[in-house]
Amino acid sequence: RASSTDTFSYATYHTLDEIYGFMDMLVAEHPQLVSKLQIGSTYEGRPIYVLKFSTGGNNRPAIWIDTGIHSREWVTQASGIWFAKKITQDYGQDPALTSILDNMDIFLEIVTNPDGFAFTHTKNRLWRKTRSITPGSSCIGVDPNRNWDAGFGKAGASNNPCSETYHGKFANSETEVKSIVDFVKSHGNIKAFISIHSYSQLLLYPYGYTTEPASDHNELDQLAKSAVTALASLYGTKFKYGSIIKAIYRASGGTIDWTYNQGIKYSYTFELRDTGRYGFLLPASQIIPTAQETWLALKTIMEYTMNHPY
């Protein structure tokens, strides 16, 4: 077990316990900057933790980043760990990040689907959904990215509990989703919401459940272009960008459609590496380069959010 976040290995995949242990180490090493909040518990009773990075103030405008809502997308949780460490390393060093944290808070939920993630380590590496039981069905789990109250149950999700895109009995039926919904509503001052998936190398903005363009479509598109340009500047990794329904396919009940409809203008979903050589089984050797390039895009979005208060 690593004795500090400096000896922790960011270049390998970790279990849920190791990630929760990392969080505790990071908080212990930076008590003035980092705190750990429990926003709820999973279906199987595991705690759901969010790291809060704050330099003071009261209920400051905030940026939310989550990884791992689809548990098999391991490079996202691994990148989330790297982001957490990066924030503590760069505050006070990197002018852009320092300015962001002097004005805003950052919330980072690294393991957004703990039950599913534990299951990928113990039983089925390719598990995607939650682990909730659906009465009347022998199939387990709900797709937590189809369970939000935004176009819920419309085309772009399945009502079959055995499907990988099963939307659940009702919106927010999954405690992993409801915990975030309650947190976002109670905080009330989140200005950017970024949910990170893999794979396909895409940067997406609302909507997924309708072809109606978002009212801020042009601004979101421009910012996405800047973000993917920053991302590509490091290793040349090419991302496409656009609205969910245009860039990939119709998807209802999605996270960022709900956050956007809550008034969180800068709502984005990333689909990280790769484009399909390894898919969800991305070799660990690509964790750090993936996190590094994604960080440049995240900073672009965070800086823009800070400079365009609304």
């Binding site: 290995s9 794979y199 396919y249 399909g276 898919g279 969800f280």
Partner: protein
Amino acid sequence: KEDFVGHQVLRISAADEAQVQKVTELEYLEHLQLDFWRGPAQPGTPIDVRVPFSSVQAVKVFLEAHGIEYTIMIEDVQSLLDEEQEQIFAFQT
């Protein structure tokens, strides 16, 4: 622990809406136990699907019978998983 020996991931290139529809039909054949890594979308965007060993032949015959192009993205899912486990184990030791 779930075993994925012989499972393949196919990358399907649907040329038109009719072919996307055909692939979508596959999604509802539960006995095939297909796992769409990238679901059917508009023509031209890749569709990635993990096919259990027991369904590989049937799925390939179906695609070829309908003239739907595909390539094998991952020959054997389990071998990649084994590599991943070895890497984690090597790191831990």
